[in-house]
Symmetry: C2
Subunit: 376 residues, 2 copies
Amino acid sequence: MKSGATLPAYELVVETYGTLNADRSNAVLVCHALNASHHVAGWHADANGQPLPRSEGWWHSMIGPSKAVDTDKWFVIGVNNLGSCFGSTGPTHTNPATGQPWGADFPVVTVEDWVNAQARLLDVMGIEQLAAVMGGSLGGMQTLSWTLQYPERVRHAIVVASAPNLTAENIAFNEVARRAIVTDPDFHGGHYLREGTLPRRGLRIARMIGHITYLSDDVMNEKFGRSLRTANGDDPADTAELAYRYTTQDVEFQIESYLRYQGDKFSEYFDANTYLLITRALDYFDPAREHGGSLSAALARAKARFLLVSFTTDWRFSPARSREMVKALLENGRDVSYAEIDAPHGHDAFLLDDPRYHQAVRAYFEHTVAGTEVAK
Amino acid sequence: MKSGATLPAYELVVETYGTLNADRSNAVLVCHALNASHHVAGWHADANGQPLPRSEGWWHSMIGPSKAVDTDKWFVIGVNNLGSCFGSTGPTHTNPATGQPWGADFPVVTVEDWVNAQARLLDVMGIEQLAAVMGGSLGGMQTLSWTLQYPERVRHAIVVASAPNLTAENIAFNEVARRAIVTDPDFHGGHYLREGTLPRRGLRIARMIGHITYLSDDVMNEKFGRSLRTANGDDPADTAELAYRYTTQDVEFQIESYLRYQGDKFSEYFDANTYLLITRALDYFDPAREHGGSLSAALARAKARFLLVSFTTDWRFSPARSREMVKALLENGRDVSYAEIDAPHGHDAFLLDDPRYHQAVRAYFEHTVAGTEVAK
């Protein structure tokens, strides 16, 4: 691994959609962001073959039969990253050296490590070259890194709502979230599983901070504004007539119950050590670092064609960061398409069903990815 | 109090600068924000009469002899608010009913309560009318409220980096900070003093969140960027050559040590219950609420002249929020001056020594406040 550590063995959990064609030229790899997984598209069925509620893949709106990324044409691969908590080898698994859960001893993973593991996965699957790699946010960083680590293996790169590295502000938000987890007395230095506890308080705070920064100020005002909690907690009636209760610890505003709910839900399913690892991978990613800070020099290795997409109200991965990548790619003579979508939803927009956004990706797949010859 | 609670007695701690003139017409009240106090200007002296390090008042750059608010002309009053932890009656004081610290039983305070208490203070001081009230952020909210609660007692209102209410995003940040404090096992439902503990973990997280939001992305990139920690922790040498250490729990980036330091320092001196009370006062302030959401209707009572100041990179109290107040005041035919300062420092700018900002305040005092007749 990039840190110098060695992982003696590992498993990656994968989900695929569509059919790999005879010359193995239609594979599209989808890289996930912080709390997502290999379950990219489709849904899970109940005993009667009906969709289970809320079982859709995280990029379900984008990927599927006849969708922007059409699984009738493309063989789409979702992979859960190393260090995650959704099946691939990670901190909740057993460290063979101790027979105990890895916990905080799991090696620090980087975007580059993930890409290397994904490349080995493609070797196992017999896929020499990808028609495209795509991802949003941290998934966009993996996509960019693919074009640098394996330039010959990627024909197209679709980088959505991403950045060539994190700003100080982004690192700062990650750090506060990590401190909330690490200073939770139930964290036990990262060995909470051995102790039979979970640092739920810290995870809740981490998730609440994350949620604020994934949304825009605009969309928060539109969805919640200053509306007060309702009497029964879920009645959507107008609350303008409610009186303040004058409380510091109980819920007063709807935004508070929303955030508490998101925090509670997250703390039930997400592993705290995974949260630390994935936010650190975000912090560390910085391809320009080994090139004296020159992104243009760093991207000189890339051979893929690019589609970049950003969203105007995304303040964590702002359009300015996408434009930096566009500029550096153009300086290297790369083919780049860039769509800056005027959307109110902040960073979350990359997961939502915005027709202009999906149309940009659809058109890119239909006209550019489909029209590109396979390198022989 | 606005909540319906009664406080049997209270003390307010005050610091004044300059001299009240014979007709008591030159008083300027300064209202403080979240973690500030009555110590607005000047500095504390050591045994030799020399300034103690970092003992300057929080608006020292703005207020003093020959400064923008010239204490050779104006009698400036700094007052610590009710519920604070710097001397005025608050949660760390003894509840006379129990003989124990008030803790979480201290009544919820509002901006309106603070203004009422400040008005009583002026009664005691024999000051009928203020030449000006001024404040930044939460202090600006008190200033605005003064013009509505006591329109006859305020000739001028200087509202800096403030808003007529908090947005959902601002309430959200306050709520995460409060949850971090309240879920700290050392919080004990707000009665930590009785238990001999302090919820330092929660306070640290709260302060780290606050600090991120007081700064702009720009200034964070400029001050810290992606620089790594230095070997000895304080050597300002270039860190471009340092290698990543690959750690999730130790400091890797300078922004992390800065935030941890700010959090540690804050947790040593600030009271957790005060933090809850003051952030809640921010959340609750909303003069338009009792006027069907119309700020214009709410501000119809104001009689003062206004100077409003905002800073372009302040994303917690953005210029748009100041412009809302300007518009509502103009709709009521008020005299309003407005300065929007192009400053990189985010919300923190209101505490800093920006010459254009200070010149706007100086000119307002010299030409407008000084030129206004006292109402008889």
